[in-house]
């Protein structure tokens, strides 16, 4: 068996087939393992935003029974109590958003603490020690905590220890009115600040398996009091998650391209292998081998190679994702948990599926090989082309697309794109060759010989041009478009994204506050009114009379919404139904997911309780909101004029490039009630992340390039014997070696120009499509790359093409003709009957 395998490894097509499989295993494992880790990390991160997987939120102290019940469901439990209080130091006092937490807080995620003595920022998942507090930057600045760390909170004195940069539930939670002060819950009683009648939020945080969490949620639902609510994390508002999600789906699509190309290379190799094995099978039948013996021996050889090659590919894929993860962890401090085994098994299974799909139709055709093939060459033609192999490969591409894209729409879009790109490539090459055919008149020059070779073998030329174009496509996308794309993407979301949110600005001070910002060079200050309101009725039916199954819906109707009033549709919002407010129109614009959860449709009449006054208006539009744009976003927007008399305060978000702390200090002094929320750290993380995403995509493009080269090698290998005959004929007819050499170089140069034009053009078009629909920013196409790609392709393709056939030039015509008669070719000089 091993002997047969060794014999097969002497066939270039066999090696090409398994090199393709190696790449498939590598690509599938690398992307599978990497995304598995990212998904695990994202799940943890979602919980980290809440500090837990779920929580009970209450305005009164929570009964211990909940914690006991959670324990019975196998959930971990932590507690937090949040309230507002004055923090007093020797230098002054400031309203603080105090959160007292149990020592195992947070259950999920970490608290990011500022560097001490120039070290790196430190992530911890414990509470401050008893007797100490950690404080948000704004308080550190306002109260000068670094030089006077003693802090009075109610009746107790605590010592400031560390500065908080990020903490669970920070994000863009815009309604936190005061900077955070984190303390140990065991110090809470001593402060005397919280009693059962205090205005505070009492939370029971829980963490555990998804099943336990769901079961716990269902168990407590009937016993929750009206002032208590059950929460799970809201995924959509996590900017980092969305950024990573985008990079991961982009990676998947790019890997998909590489895998599809590898499958094409494998299919080409399998076809070539079949062409060779027809003779072998026929010969063995002549010598007395039965069908089942032939099938068994071939199947054994393939099975013997499939598992080790797939495992080797998966092993290399594992190493690749490991290095990628190390780089990303180092650069972003986002921990990636070790991968599970599932992607390894799935990759192995897919490798086997790929080989079976590529080889099975061919193995099944073994029975159709006529033994007379050895006596009659023409009998081969009927079985050489294997239509069921093409269908099988097509089905395989569809399966792989769905496997990798994991999203019906994305898979459909990619498949359509692939079919369209392949058809466009094929059609363009055929058309250009067709046009050239009409224009070229016979001349006794190498130029004409080259063109004639190109045009008279239009099938071969199309394959070659397509393979070269795929390589140029990958190179241009890798070299030019990717860099531009990621740079522009980063520019589009990051540098001017607001890094400071200012909350609780009072209506009477908006003008003065805006002038203060103007003096600091911040001229465009967009102030959003914030009006709190609760939905009381939909289409005049009281909300209490309606039943909501969904936890999310219950949460939303039991809480106040933060409404705003806007005359213009905010940036990054898209109207998905209805129309934006016309002048004088009264209505509400509702975020589409909220509308779906609450069962709201366009035209429904919404009644809202705004500070005791009932306001009724129709839902005039449904909006899609881009939650990760780092700007204030709203579930419900009211039309101008609808809520004119409602009490309000304002928020704004600004970008401050330098001396952010200085500005925060000034605002605190002049407007002590205004809360500044610094998102600089979060933005820095996103910036690093998108840069690393760009690097990851580069690696994947290298995959694509390698697989495209594999396709090219397959095509070049397949055309060798035909080219031998052409050269032999040219030489027999009197063409000199130099003439033949020049004709070949020119033929490949023409092919290069064609491939450069098509591949380069498609890369630029893809860049534009990616920018417009995936990354959503305006992208100026670098047309000069079309010229570069054509020039480069002419040189590279001429060199590669010439190198691939150079060894055939020195052979004498007689020898070539003798070779033509060998069994591997289809030519039999005197076909007897």
């Amino acid at each position: 068996m091993l002997k047969d395998l060794i014999r097969h490894t002497r066939l270039a097509e066999f090696n090409l087939l398994f090199l393709g499989l190696l790449l498939v295993g590598m690509a599938l494992a690398a992307v599978g393992l990497f995304t598995d880790r990212v998904e695990q990390s994202m799940q943890a991160r979602t919980s980290a935003l809440l500090g837990a997987d779920g929580m009970i939120d209450s305005t009164r102290p929570l009964d211990d029974a909940y914690a006991t019940l959670a324990g019975q469901f196998g959930l971990q439990v932590a507690r937090s109590v949040s309230f507002m209080s004055m923090a007093i130091t020797a230098t002054g006092s400031r309203l603080a958003g105090v959160r007292a937490v149990s020592s195992n807080y947070p259950l999920r995620g970490e608290v990011l603490l500022a560097a001490v003595d120039g070290d790196e920022p430190e992530s911890v998942s414990v509470a401050p020690a008893q007797g100490t507090v950690w404080s948000a930057t704004q308080l550190v600045i306002d109260l000068n905590l670094e030089s006077s760390p003693e802090l009075q909170l109610g009746d107790s004195f605590l010592r400031f220890e560390r500065e908080i940069l990020l903490e669970p539930e920070s994000g863009t939670g815009m309604l936190r009115l005061a900077p955070r002060l984190l303390m140990n819950i065991d110090d809470l009683d001593q402060t005397g600040l919280v009693t059962s009648a205090s205005r505070a939020r009492f939370r029971l945080l829980v963490a555990g398996s998804k099943e336990s969490l769901t079961a716990f949620g269902q168990a407590i639902e009937p016993i929750l009091k009206p002032y208590q609510s059950w929460h799970v994390a809201d995924l959509r508002r996590d900017e980092v998650r969305n950024t990573i999600g985008r990079v991961v789906s982009y990676l998947r699509v790019t890997v998909l391209l590489a895998v599809v190309l590898a499958i094409v290379a494998m299919a080409l190799a399998a076809q070539g292998l079949w062409g060779r094995q027809i003779h072998e099978i026929a010969l063995l039948r002549c010598l007395g081998q039965t069908h089942s013996q032939t099938l068994k021996s071939l199947a054994r050889v393939y099975m013997l190679a499939v598992i080790p090659v797939s495992l080797l590919g998966i092993g290399i894929g594992y190493l690749l994702q490991h290095f990628a993860a190390v780089i990303i962890q180092d650069a972003t401090a986002i921990p990636l948990p070790p991968p599970t085994w599932l992607p390894v098994w799935l990759s192995l299974l897919m490798c086997i599926v790929v080989v079976v799909a590529v080889m099975m139709p061919i193995l099944l055709a073994v029975k159709r090989v006529p033994t007379m093939t050895l006596l009659r060459a023409e009998q081969i033609d009927g079985i050489r082309r294997n239509r069921s192999a093409s269908l099988s490969v097509l089905a395989l591409v569809i399966v792989v697309t769905f496997f990798l894209a994991r999203n019906l729409w994305l898979a459909f879009a990619v498949l359509t794109g692939l079919v369209f790109a392949a058809a466009l490539l094929w059609f363009t090459v055929r058309s250009l060759i067709g046009v050239a055919k009409r224009l070229v008149a016979p001349r006794p020059t190498a130029w004409y010989a080259a063109l004639k070779a190109l045009l008279s073998n239009s099938g071969r030329s199309t394959w070659l041009a397509s393979a070269f174009a795929a390589i140029i496509f990958a190179l241009v996308l890798l070299g030019a478009v990717r860099e531009d794309l990621f740079e522009e993407w980063q520019n589009s979301i990051l540098p001017d994204a607001p890094n400071l949110f200012l909350l609780n600005i009072q209506a009477h001070e908006t003008a003065a506050f805006a002038s203060l910002l103007n003096t600091k060079g911040i001229t465009e200050v967009k102030l959003y009114p914030i009006i709190r309101g609760r939905i009381t009725a939909i289409n005049n039916q009281k909300i209490s009379d309606r039943t909501f199954e969904d936890d999310d819906a219950l949460h939303r109707i039991n809480h106040d919404f933060n409404l705003t009033i806007l005359a213009e549709l905010p940036v990054d919002n898209k109207i998905r139904a209805g129309n934006w407010f016309k002048a004088g129109e009264k209505g509400f614009s509702v975020e589409q997911d909220t509308a779906k959860i609450l069962g709201l449709a366009l035209g429904d009449r919404l009644t809202m309780d705004i500070a005791g006054v009932l306001i009724e208006a129709p839902v005039s539009s449904l909006r899609e909101v881009k939650w990760d744009n780092m700007r204030p976003n709203f579930y419900i927007i009211a039309a101008p004029g609808l809520l004119d008399d409602a009490p309000r305060n304002y928020i704004t978000s600004i970008y401050v490039e330098q001396q952010r702390n200085e500005l925060v200090r000034q605002i605190s002094q002049s407007y002590p009630h205004i809360t500044a929320l610094d998102l600089g750290m979060l933005l820095a993380r996103i910036r690093t992340l998108s840069a690393q995403g760009g690097n990851a995509v580069s690696v994947v493009f290298v995959f694509t390039l390698v697989t495209a080269l594999l396709v090219l090698f397959g095509v070049l290998q397949g055309q060798r014997s035909a080219r031998e005959l052409e050269i032999a004929l040219l030489k027999t007819l009197g063409a000199g070696r130099e003439f033949v050499r020049r004709a070949i170089v020119l033929e490949f140069a023409f092919l290069g120009a064609l491939a450069g034009f098509i591949g380069g053009g498609m890369a630029l078009l893809s860049g534009w499509l990616l920018a417009k629909y995936v990354f959503e920013f305006a992208y100026s196409i670098p047309w000069q790359w079309l010229v570069f790609s054509m020039t480069g392709a002419v040189i590279v393709v001429a060199v590669i093409g010439y190198t691939s056939v150079r060894s055939l030039l020195g052979v004498l015509p007689v020898r070539l003709l003798a070779q033509m008669a060998m069994p591997t070719s289809q030519i039999h000089p005197s076909g007897g009957r």
């Binding site: 072998e280 010969l283 063995l284 010598l287 007395g288 069994p823 005197s830 076909g831 007897g832």
Partner: protein, 230 residues
Amino acid sequence: MKPLKTNSDHIVAQAVGVGKTVQLASDTLDILQDISLKITAGRTVAISGASGSGKTTLLGLLAGLDQPTSGSLTLMGQTLNNLDEDQRAKLRRGRVGFVFQSFHLLPNLTAVENVALALEVIPESTAIVENSRQALSRVGLSERCGHLPSQMSGGEQQRVALARSMVVAPEILFADEPTGNLDHGTSSQIADLMFSLCKDNGSTLVLVTHNRELAARCDDQYHIEAGRLV
């Protein structure tokens, strides 16, 4: 090595009223019509005729590589008409040898590996490599065992093909234009070798050729014209 088979009365291959017709797009073509012949063990038989006369088709039918449209065929005592393809393959195994005009050596196998193929399909084969080397030695290629076909001349390749066919000491050897791709000098050497090996093994030789000189060296000669024996 099998004992020499010298029973001159034994019929190894027989055709009775054999015809072969192929269906074309709008017509049928009679390649062979009413062919009847007997081939006796140990004889050398030539089937000659012009290109397109049907001689290669007859060889394929006699060897059980193809099925006739009419008539009956017998090979080594077995009626081929009743056997399916696998049964015919089993009948050929170790008892029938082939030499082709285009040699049909596998390009990825060395000379010795090509020869060994014929033994490898026989489950009870032993000492495969030694026997293959010995066969190559008998055709004068003991020094070329490890060479690939692309490293050998046409004559050498055909000698490897001869070694492959004779390594099993077949009862009958079918040769289709064995010298068709070779120059005159090499052709004579290959023909000498083939006749001598058949004689040594006691194998029957059925030779398809349009080379009159080669046909004249055989004990019996059949001539085909337009699908009929004349």
